[in-house]
């Protein structure tokens, strides 16, 4: 039976009369029906989200951390309810449903499942890292004495709103820790991807989290707007336009293009071949979809050779059947996305000052490929003369990187705002200057890929600081 996915209004299922069909990629069979929330309903619900927080307050933060860890195992292994009719979804069903509607290769979905499982399991470490080592009890009482200093934290919102995209299940990792921080979540799933947030919620509930802490509103743009306007804190995903729209709004955290980079120092450039695997992983992991994938590699010498070697290595990342265990390249269900990216690259190449090294390796065969109704962009390495070239410091949703040559001394001032920077060098003075650079959000020092994650480090903003602020408290 095809599941009908309801809304969750502070945990209570609600079947809207606006039922939309979700079909398999390329106009295939109906895979699910999803009931859509009208924006007025969302706005009205968001007037009072205190029930969810009150339900979470009944638990200690430690208990919620344990529940989160347990929910991770449930997410990965258990059959969980899906839809209104009491149906259960096994992990394999989940994989197949997500594959059908998103077009993602099975191998990548499995990788993302493992990644989410990892986040669930590491939430105690994440909490510690984000709260700078504070014990979870800090959220249980009104105040807490920590090494002789009285601390109190006040929530900045009754609920965290999250506007999720359709093309990246792993982004759900970003809101999972909020539950242990006693913050209810209000999720608006991407149209083709209700599966992951729904399954994460069900895993939490089965693990013992209060259902009232979860609101789930499939909706159109007006529903997103209602969440953005009414939730005290909102996480959303978008391009540069969205980032600039909200850059002065402290209640909105936009996860935009990362423009993550690898910088190879003078002291390591002669060893560039030793770092080739790291570069390949940085560019191609998760099919280049993450904001922490490297999209630009800056080197003081050997740019041509490095571009050549990278393009060679990525030739094997080809279009394969979705269920091929070796498939590692994601396609686009929406052809307009692939067409737009391809067009942008073509326009950039026409400017001069850049060449598509991968295209040369493929003897000129197109980077844009259609297979089984999915639209693919083959991995692309460009060799740009300048980082200011339109293809030099950009990011696309597929394995893409530019390779640029410049003296090490110019790198820091040239790279611009970068989410993750892998600085491969032992030059202490240079590393110190990178550490002091405000335009680098996440700095990996040494031979480490841009997508390497240590759980105790914040990712694109500190969730704890987003959801809580320290308040003064004096107790007689």
């Amino acid at each position: 039976m095809i599941p009908t996915i309801p809304l969750l209004r502070s945990g209570s299922p609600y079947c809207s009369l606006d039922v939309q069909s979700i079909e398999a990629v390329g106009g295939g069979d109906e895979v699910a029906r999803i009931t859509m929330a009208n924006s007025g309903l969302i706005r009205r619900d968001l007037l009072d989200m205190t029930r969810g927080r009150a339900a979470l307050q009944k638990f200690s933060a430690s208990d919620l951390l344990d529940i989160t860890v347990s929910a991770g195992d449930i997410f990965l292994h258990d059959d969980l309810p899906v839809g209104q009719e009491g149906q259960l979804q096994s992990p394999d069903d989940y994989l197949l449903s997500l594959a059908a509607t998103s077009g993602l290769p099975h191998a990548l979905i499995r990788m993302n499942m493992e990644r989410l499982h990892g986040v669930f399991g590491e939430v105690p470490t994440i909490f510690k890292g984000l709260s700078r080592g504070l014990p979870p009890e800090i959220l249980d009482g009104g105040h807490f004495l920590d090494e002789g200093v009285r601390l109190s934290f006040v929530p900045t919102t009754d609920a965290l709103g999250v506007i999720l995209p359709s093309n990246s299940p792993a982004v759900n990792a970003l809101w999972i820790p909020a539950l242990a921080m006693k913050t209810p979540v209000v999720l608006k799933p991407g149209r083709e991807e209700p599966w992951t947030p729904w399954r994460v919620i069900q895993a939490f509930i089965k693990a013992g989290a209060p259902a009232e802490a979860f609101s789930f509103y499939p909706a159109g743009h007006d529903g997103s707007a209602a969440i953005i306007r009414r939730c005290g804190r909102v996480m959303l995903f978008g391009g540069d336009d969205t980032v600039s729209q909200y850059e002065n709004d402290p209640s909105v955290e936009v996860h935009g293009a990362g423009r993550s980079k690898i910088l190879l120092g003078e002291d390591e450039i002669e060893n560039w071949r030793d770092h080739l695997d790291l570069m390949i992983r940085s560019v191609s992991a998760n099919s280049g979809r993450s904001c922490i994938n490297a999209s630009c590699i800056v080197v003081p010498r050997y740019a041509d050779e490095i571009a050549d070697a990278l393009a060679d290595a990525l030739l094997g990342m080809s279009v394969r059947a979705q269920d091929d265990p070796e498939a590692s390249l994601s396609g686009f269900a929406n052809p307009r996305m692939a067409e737009w990216i391809n067009g942008a690259i073509e326009e950039g190449l026409k400017e001069g000052g850049a060449r598509d090294v991968s295209l040369e390796k493929r003897d000129g065969s197109d980077r844009y490929v259609l297979r089984d109704s999915m639209h693919y962009m083959l991995p692309t390495i460009t060799r740009c003369q300048s980082i200011d070239h339109s293809l030099g410091n950009t990011e696309f949703l597929f394995p893409y990187a530019s390779v640029i040559e410049m003296p090490q001394s110019e790198m820091l001032d040239s790279i611009g705002k970068s989410l993750a920077v892998a600085a491969i060098s032992s030059d202490e003075a240079w590393i110190e200057s990178l550490i002091a650079a405000d335009h680098i959000e996440r700095l990996n020092v040494g031979a480490m890929a841009t997508n390497h994650i240590e759980w105790d480090q914040p990712h694109e903003g500190n969730l704890f600081e987003f959801l809580y602020r320290r308040r003064s408290i004096q107790v007689a």
Partner: protein, 351 residues
């Protein structure tokens, strides 16, 4: 009345209206000039509503480009007219002249309202676009016709539209709060039994106060798209299952189409105030063709009053053609939404 009787009534009405508007003694300069250019006389060649296709679509630009006096029937000579406006954010808006049509339309509408939910003698509040709109006078007339008075809170949709175009969403919200603040004050401190407002304002008022708790027994609502889910939400939650919702579809050019009673599907179907106005759901590719029942098409309006003749005006809406019902034995239009809503982003619902 049967469908056949309704059809005969419509044909008679059409004959009467054509006789009025195309007669040198009673017609208006616009249509008399049109007749002299067209080379045919509608009074002779349009024998029934089936022949309405002899007219091309009425162009709403004429209501902006022509002087209002050109639409004044000679039969109304000596009576100053009301000017009602529609739409417009910049430049000269479209205007329609009128005298008593709005009174007739709203008196007819009053006959459809249940006294239990719209008690005779109750005071009304209108929260929505007033200013140069017909609705301002019409709702007040409705209240007075039913024995009550009407309070008004204005909302200027043209200003809201400009703010939205400029993406000044904070300002839109501030303006909406300003409107709702005023409405809530009146509702709290005056005896109000009935309300006219638009869907978005209804939701916003319901976020501030309990509408049935404030003593409002009936709400008549018009304006933007009303999806079944939104209607269900208003009925069950905003109006708490207590206050009666009466959705309407109307504009300055038509009058008021009322909805059939809501059922468990919450799908809204409107019936034009025939024979004063006729709604057809037409094939957008060939507007001479009426769509089959149950299918979406573009809404075409014909207005047939002595004050205003407007044949085959294509509304900016699409709807499902619905079957006649006992109370309204002519075609209805269901699930109205902006024309092309599924294909393109349409800025609507500013209030």
């Amino acid at each position: 009345m049967t469908s056949d009787e309704a059809r005969s009534q419509l044909d008679e009405r059409l004959e009467e209206i054509l006789a009025w508007h195309f007669d040198e003694e009673t017609g208006c300069p616009f249509w008399l000039h049109w007749k002299s250019q067209a080379g045919w006389d509608p009074r002779k060649e349009v024998k029934s509503f089936d022949d309405i296709h002899r007219f091309d679509h009425f162009q709403d630009e004429w209501l902006r480009d022509e002087k209002n006096e050109r639409f004044v029937p000679r039969g109304m000579k000596g009576r100053p007219f009301n000017v009602f406006e529609t739409g417009g954010t910049t430049g000269l808006p479209k205007q329609r002249v009128g005298w008593d049509d709005y009174k007739h339309d709203y008196e007819m509408f009053s006959g459809t309202l249940a006294d239990e939910h719209f008690p005779p003698g109750a005071n009304w509040i209108m929260v929505g676009p007033t200013g140069p709109r017909r609705l301002r006078l019409a709702v007040e007339h409705l209240a007075q016709f039913r024995g009550g008075s009407c309070y008004h809170i204005d909302l200027d949709p043209r200003w809201v539209k400009k703010l939205i175009i400029r993406k000044q969403i904070d300002e839109v919200e501030r303006y909406q709060r300003h409107v709702i603040d005023q409405a809530v004050e009146i509702i709290k401190h005056r005896d109000i039994g009935c309300m006219f407002t638009t869907p978005k304002l209804l939701e916003a008022i319901g976020e501030r106060i309990s509408i049935p708790g404030a003593g409002i027994k009936g709400v008549f609502c018009g304006g933007t798209t009303m999806t079944p889910q939104a209607v269900r939400f208003w009925v069950e939650e905003v109006l708490e299952g207590k206050t009666r919702l009466v959705p309407t579809y109307g504009n300055t050019l038509m009058g008021l189409a009322v909805s059939r009673p809501l059922d468990e599907t919450y799908s809204v179907t409107y019936y034009a105030p025939q024979p004063r106005a006729v709604l057809r759901v037409v094939n957008p590719e060939d507007t001479a063709i009426t769509m089959p029942y149950g299918e979406f098409g573009r809404v075409e309006l014909t207005t047939l009053t002595k004050e205003f003749f407007m044949p085959r005006f294509l509304e900016r809406d699409e709807a499902i053609r619905r079957e006649p019902i006992d109370d309204y034995p002519w075609d209805g239009v269901g699930d109205v939404r902006p024309f092309g809503a599924m294909e393109k982003k349409v800025v609507e619902g500013v209030y």
